[in-house]
């Protein structure tokens, strides 16, 4: 809808003291500046996440300072640290409990792919095997600035989401799932080891 406003007209109006916006811009502006993360840390990266929230880096400047202890009140899940197979069902459950629209940042190598611990028998090779991830931050652990950068990346993603049309945001499409099956503990591994709906790695030509 914002495409329909003539950019020149808008600036002209603004000069006259009339502020014009579209529903979509207003909606996205409001959402992107009040992303409340879920307060939940897993490992080393969580300490850098706390450092990001502390006074030196101050994530509050981006509207994300309110870390909610309950998933019901959170918009963003920062998966900060190694996801073990024992912890994976709980994380999927927490994700399912979050209200739409919800976003996931995979912070650090371990959350993305298992990282340095990916050869371990109890380490999940990436949280995106079970839930969709919006932004990936490589690094072990990423600097607080890198987390802020990812936060801005997420904000720009939210900003570009459409309310209507064929490319509208996932959470507005009733056909798209907002909850994903929780894996169960098996005799040797998690069952199932991945969710094919979410996890579709390309074939590597080697």
């Amino acid at each position: 809808m914002s495409e329909q406003i003539d950019e020149r007209l808008r600036t002209e109006l603004q000069r006259q003291g009339v502020w014009v916006t579209s529903m979509q811009d207003l909606y996205n502006w409001g959402r992107k500046n009040s992303i409340w993360p879920l307060q939940f840390g897993l490992a080393c990266c969580a300490i850098e996440m706390i450092a990001t929230a502390a006074s030196r880096y101050d994530i509050a400047r981006f509207g994300g300072e309110i870390f909610r202890p309950s998933p019901r009140q959170a918009d963003l899940m920062i998966v900060a640290g190694t996801v073990t197979k024992k912890m994976a069902p709980q994380i999927v459950r927490l994700y399912n409990q979050m209200a739409d629209p919800k976003y996931v940042i995979a912070m650090g190598a371990c959350a993305i792919s298992g990282g340095p611990f990916k050869q371990g028998y109890n380490v999940l090779k990436g949280i995106d095997r079970y839930i969709p991830v919006d932004v990936y931050i490589p690094g072990c652990p990423p600097r607080p600035e890198a987390l802020l950068h990812a936060f801005m990346e997420l904000q720009s993603k939210i900003d570009s989401q459409k309310l209507t049309g064929a490319h509208k945001a996932v959470h507005l499409d009733p056909k798209q799932p907002s909850e994903f099956p929780v894996p169960t503990f098996g005799k040797h591994d998690l069952e199932p080891p991945g969710n094919p709906v979410v996890f579709q790695p390309p074939k590597i030509e080697r």
Partner: protein
């Protein structure tokens, strides 16, 4: 020397009554693994009688990332960066403990300057670990934010030092068998000295902020008491053991590194309660500052790495060694068995905070559920080390 414990007659809590109205109806509560005050993915299965804890079973393994198995499949050098990720607050002391064990296993000498650098970095680690622990502990008590922000403000300064020396804020990967990876420049030492000299000012402020606070005293004194006998028998080490009045500090007992060349005192508690454990950290930071000042005065130029030690294809002789150091959380040990190959045959970490949790149930029984968080906070656990 003992922790100065203020007792306030008016604030003393009444003895916990063992017979409450809801007796017989135990409520099972699972605290964690996602809980804001469990310091990571720790879980406790608590049986409550009203608000009183009757049973508490810790559940581990939510961060079990197979450190030991990976250590057995990686070369001796390759395990060094993994040790950073054990107790991710104290990567420097983890490095040191592992390097010490390998040096014992292979009989490697360490140059003098490297020993001094190790002590400087280990004590800086202790400073930032204890400062952030106090912040987290106060967080658990409900002082949401402020003490933690102050602690992290100081921690950032020390992390900047680590970063400019080793290249990384948290995962330093700094020590090597037979020394340290890079030498510290004179500028670095001057900068570090400046930060250490100003640290007591922060400590004064921090102690003024929290240690006289009546709520802190009321919530910590006589909470989670441990007797010295139980603590020794349960293998509790570090500040938690010394809070019970047991004089056992590996820096004095084993005298590893160059610690015998330093003058410092071991703070001891009297009551073994949460307040003593809290005080122990505050007092140890003062001693660490004094160790650091001595180290800055004594350090001499020289090599920092034993040139005889191979970096690649390092194969210690067949045998085993157990090396331990006094980490900020307690006795951190590495048990290594070599079969002459490039990888350790057995690589075992003796994690202090895991074993300190043995008496968590004993400390919590009879207290209210709100005290469980404070007691857990005073144990100073890091899940990376508890579960490995």
């Amino acid at each position: 020397m003992s922790a100065t414990v203020q007792t306030l007659e008016a604030m003393e809590r009444p003895p916990v009554s063992m017979g409450s109205r809801l007796e017989g109806e135990l409520l099972e509560v699972s605290m964690g693994p996602q809980h804001p005050s469990t310091h990571g993915v720790f879980r406790m299965n608590v049986a409550l009688d009203g608000e009183i804890v009757r049973k508490l079973k810790p559940v581990f393994g939510y961060l079990h990332r197979n450190h030991e198995k990976i250590g057995e499949n990686t070369s001796y050098l390759g395990s060094m960066p993994y040790t950073d990720r054990l107790d991710y607050f104290c990567s420097m002391t983890n490095n040191w403990a592992y390097a010490l064990s390998v040096e014992k296993l292979a009989g490697i000498q360490v140059p003098e300057r490297a020993e001094y650098l190790r002590i400087i970095l280990a004590e800086l680690t202790r400073l930032q670990n204890h400062a952030s622990l106090l912040g987290f502990l106060l967080n658990d008590m409900g002082a949401w934010g402020t003490p933690l922000m102050y602690a992290f403000r100081e921690r950032e300064k020390i992390l900047d030092l680590f970063e400019s020396l080793s290249g990384s804020r948290m995962m330093c990967d700094y020590m090597r068998f037979g020394g340290c990876r890079v030498d510290a420049s004179d500028d670095w030492l001057v900068g570090a000295k400046k930060i250490v000299d100003r640290f007591p000012k922060f400590l004064d402020e921090f102690e003024e902020l929290i240690l006289g606070n009546e709520i802190v005293i009321g919530r910590t004194q006589n909470v989670g008491k441990v007797s010295a006998e139980l603590a020794i028998n349960a293998g509790v080490t570090g500040p938690m053991l010394r809070a019970c009045g047991v004089n056992y500090d590996l820096r004095k007992v084993d005298g590893y590194g160059y610690y015998p060349h330093f003058k410092f005192r071991i703070p001891l508690g009297e009551h073994g309660d949460t307040y003593d454990r809290l005080m122990m950290r505050a007092l140890e930071m003062r001693e660490s500052v004094s160790i650091l000042q001595q180290a800055f005065a004594q350090i001499q130029p020289g090599p920092v790495l034993n040139p005889k030690v191979k970096i690649r294809a390092f194969r210690p002789p067949i045998g085993e060694a157990y090396g331990r150091i006094e980490g900020p959380k307690g006795e951190l040990g590495f048990y290594l068995i070599s079969d002459g190959g490039p990888n350790p045959y057995r690589y075992r970490v003796r994690p202090p905070s895991f074993i300190n949790l043995t008496i968590l149930e004993d400390m919590c029984l009879g207290h209210t559920v709100a005290d469980v968080m404070v007691i857990l906070g005073s144990v100073d656990i890091v899940m990376g080390e508890v579960d490995r």
